[in-house]
């Protein structure tokens, strides 16, 4: 049985599945239910400064996009940080941590970019027995208009400054939560590291308008006819998150910096992908908000069973395993040649591969052979783009098959070269490096 116990910057949890700072972790009632369901840890919903709490809109806070059968693919929210008094949250955190000593409890914090504010709140949080803090530099809506959340996360100097304060005023591990609403995720990550952060977590939500009410011409969610951009999350954002996690994992400046992976984790497989791309654990929100806390049971068993099947004994065996395989485009092997292959027994003859290729790609798939409806790849036209694989409704019906070195590529008329060659040395590249001789 694989060991999926997690140790993230010294914070221990029975599994790598944490609930992200969000509505599911806003109060003891929910967090208790989450721990009963099996979650390894929670990042408590973001605490603000002492004093009158923030207020939320009283109309809709969420918008969504759906896939087939109204399966929720993307969720957007305009909810702010916790709107409960700080002291209530602190008391509940303390009680929950006492009740569940084996689970991770991390406090998310967002206060103004003023040293005294951070200096004031950190001891209060520390007193609860929380395992660590997460700096919310990510929320893109509402709080950012007040100079907090993503407004901080978009300025590396501020990140570095605040992280430094936190490291100065608390013994707790500091996790810096990053916003994806920037041009290059490596810059804020580097800044956090310079400030001394113990880890980064990402991604927070993405600026978004999910849809527009075409009767009222109002963005959704519409609060009395007006809408504001919200934070986008859920399965739809996972590819963006995976890329950003891998960028930090392979950046020489931040290499080795622990990462808590966030963004559309819905199944064990999503989690495993984050882990192998360099995350030390994952945080989940939308999946829980869609299906309830029970989903963690699928995640735990799925990850564990996959690891057993593959012979991975602990999370250390898999974390970061795919990072070396993430590279720049210019280093991809241009001598690798693949062709699509259609399994005729699996083909249901919908013709989507043909029309996608015919209309929008390389005219490399037949629709009719000898007067019969038949879909087959013409290898002399196929560039191996993979579009047909992606549009085919039948899994594994179309696969990409790499040509063996030494065989003929019918499209180019050339023999497949067994050596590795990339763009940096390609003759068409005016910047090609001449081999040093």
């Amino acid at each position: 049985m694989a060991d999926i116990r997690n140790n993230f910057v010294g914070i221990k949890s029975p599994n790598p599945f944490w609930l992200a700072s969000a509505p599911p972790t806003d109060k003891a009632y929910n967090v208790e239910r989450a721990f009963k369901a099996g979650w390894g840890g929670v990042v408590w919903k973001t605490l603000g400064s002492e004093g009158p709490p923030v207020v939320n809109v009283n109309g809709p806070r969420y918008g969504a996009i759906w896939g087939a059968d109204r399966r929720l693919l993307g969720l957007n929210n305009i909810e702010l940080i916790t709107d409960r008094p700080l002291q209530v949250n602190l008391q509940e955190m303390k009680q929950v941590k006492m009740n569940w000593p084996d689970r991770a409890l991390v406090a998310s914090i967002m206060v103004p970019c003023v040293e005294e504010e951070w200096k004031a709140i950190l001891p209060l949080v520390e007193e609860t027995g929380a395992d660590g803090i997460e700096l919310n530099f990510g929320c893109p809506h509402g709080m950012s208009e007040r100079g907090m959340g993503s407004a901080v996360g978009q300025v590396p100097e501020y990140i570095e400054m605040v992280v430094r304060w936190c490291k100065q005023y608390t013994r707790m591990p500091v996790i810096t939560k990053l916003t994806p609403n920037i041009t290059d995720i490596r810059n804020p990550a580097r800044a956090a590291k310079r400030g001394g952060t113990d880890a980064v977590s990402l991604i927070n939500t993405i600026n978004s308008i999910t849809s527009v009410d075409l009767d009222n011409f109002a963005p959704i969610p519409s609060v009395g006819g007006k809408g504001s951009h919200g934070g986008y999350c859920g399965p739809a954002v996972k590819p963006i998150a995976l890329n950003m996690v891998s960028e930090i994992a392979r950046d020489p400046e931040t290499y080795g910096l622990p990462i808590s992976g966030i963004g559309g984790v819905t199944t064990w497989r999503d989690a495993a992908e984050f882990l192998v791309l360099g995350a030390g654990n994952v945080q989940v929100c939308t999946a829980a908000m869609t299906y309830g806390f029970k989903i963690v049971q699928e995640m735990i068993s799925g990850l564990s069973d996959w690891m057993d099947e593959k012979g991975h004994r602990s999370l250390d065996d898999i974390c970061g395993r795919a990072v070396p395989n993430v590279t720049d485009w210019k280093y991809l092997n241009l001598n690798y040649v693949a062709k699509a292959h259609i399994d005729q027994d699996a083909c249901i003859k919908c013709g989507r591969c043909h029309i996608a290729c015919e209309d929008t790609s390389h005219q490399a798939i037949t629709s009719m052979v000898n007067g019969v409806r038949h879909f087959e790849v013409m290898e002399d036209e196929c560039v191996g783009c993979n579009l047909c694989v992606n549009v085919c409704p039948v899994e594994n019906c179309i696969t990409m098959v790499g040509l063996e070195p030494g065989t003929l590529d019918q499209r180019t008329g050339k023999i497949v070269d067994p050596t590795y060659a990339n763009w940096t040395t390609h003759p068409n590249n005016p910047m090609a490096q001449v081999a040093a001789e």
């Binding site: 087939a68 059968d69 109204r70 249901i348 003859k349 919908c350 013709g351 989507r352 043909h354 029309i355 629709s367 409806r373 409704p393 039948v394």
Partner: protein, 453 residues
Amino acid sequence: MDRLGSGIAGGRLSPADYETNFSDLHPRFDRHEALVASDRCYFCHDAPCMTACPTAIDIPLFIRQISTANPLGAARTIFSQNILGGMCARVCPTETLCEEACVRNTAEDKPVEIGRLQRYATDIAMDQGRQFFHRAAESGKVIAVVGAGPAGLACAHRLAMNGHTVVVFDAREKAGGLNEYGIATYKATNNFAQKEVEYLLAIGGIEIRTGMALGRDFSLSDLTAQYDAVFLGLGLAGVNGLGIEGEDLSGVEDAVDFIAALRQADDKANVPIGRRVVVLGGGMTAIDAAVQAKLLGAEEVTICYRRGKDQMNASEYEQDLAASKGVLIRHWLSPKRILGRDGAVAGIELEYTALRDGHLTGTGEMGVIACDQVMKAIGQSFRASGLGALAMDRGRIVIDEHCRTSMDGVYAGGDCTSRGEDLTVQAVAHGRDAADAIHLAFASAGQPAVAVA
């Protein structure tokens, strides 16, 4: 035999049972169901379902329109190819047409529910009275259509669209043809056939004259003399007989008459049915009659077919429907004699049959099924007079691919012709294509061309 008596009577069920039994076989999808069902469509290239449809409705397009919450757009797509798309959605044997061709069958053995999706879209449009087509400017041409069934109505509508004026003659009291008289009650509830006729006539330029029979009230030569063109959508008015002893006994009737009477009955309790009913035949009519006999409260209903299951014209789906309603289907039985008692049916004697050297032959072994009612559903035949020298082939009117008959200016379509299957949707395709051919003939004859709306 006494207890069988003359068991043919109405009022066998409670009013609630009649209500339940003759309600919609497949209630229409609600919006959510339609969205879920439409999500399953793959939007195939050169879609096999579309090829399988005699009217070539762009099925992937209309389903995509439904899935994007545009049912009216879907209805326009459907009606542009098939103005009787509402009835076809109800009565088409989709399991042998579009849904059989659906690629989902290959992977899951469960096609996209095209028929029900078509009904969803067309019902919404018709309930709203949305008309998608308008008459072109008056052409001055007047066309006679004989038969207000699916072929004639489809032809009339397309002609009217093109600005022509149409007079439709029908021998019956109501327009609709088999849609009104020949479809099982639970497939066309709430007077749908008449609503569809009204919807179709709303385009204008079409006059329907009922109670006018070809050969009795007018002849083909009358029409060719008075009109610019003639379309014949006569259907099959004749019913095949058994030619066996006892056929004239009380309790023997044609299944088509039974089905028609049931459709026309406001109160189904007034339609008498036997306690033990034998239906002879293997087609859709046999199934419709047998199922409805059961739904009227018959205790035992047996379909006897002289060949095997594979040779039945009724689809597998229809056979299963009959079985689910408690109808027993027996194969390889050929009727030999209807047994009577006091002038009424008391049973039927049948001979077992077999295929020998490809020929159906009796085995000599006999059996008797006790029954008090026998329905004949062994096929309909073309029966018409007043057609003059119109070329026929095996009892049907010969037409070419443009629905032209052997006589200049005379077109025909639907069951009365020798082309295509005897299906509502085929009749619609014929009527539509004949209208296009007529319109084209006018245009190419040097008449002022009229633009299609």
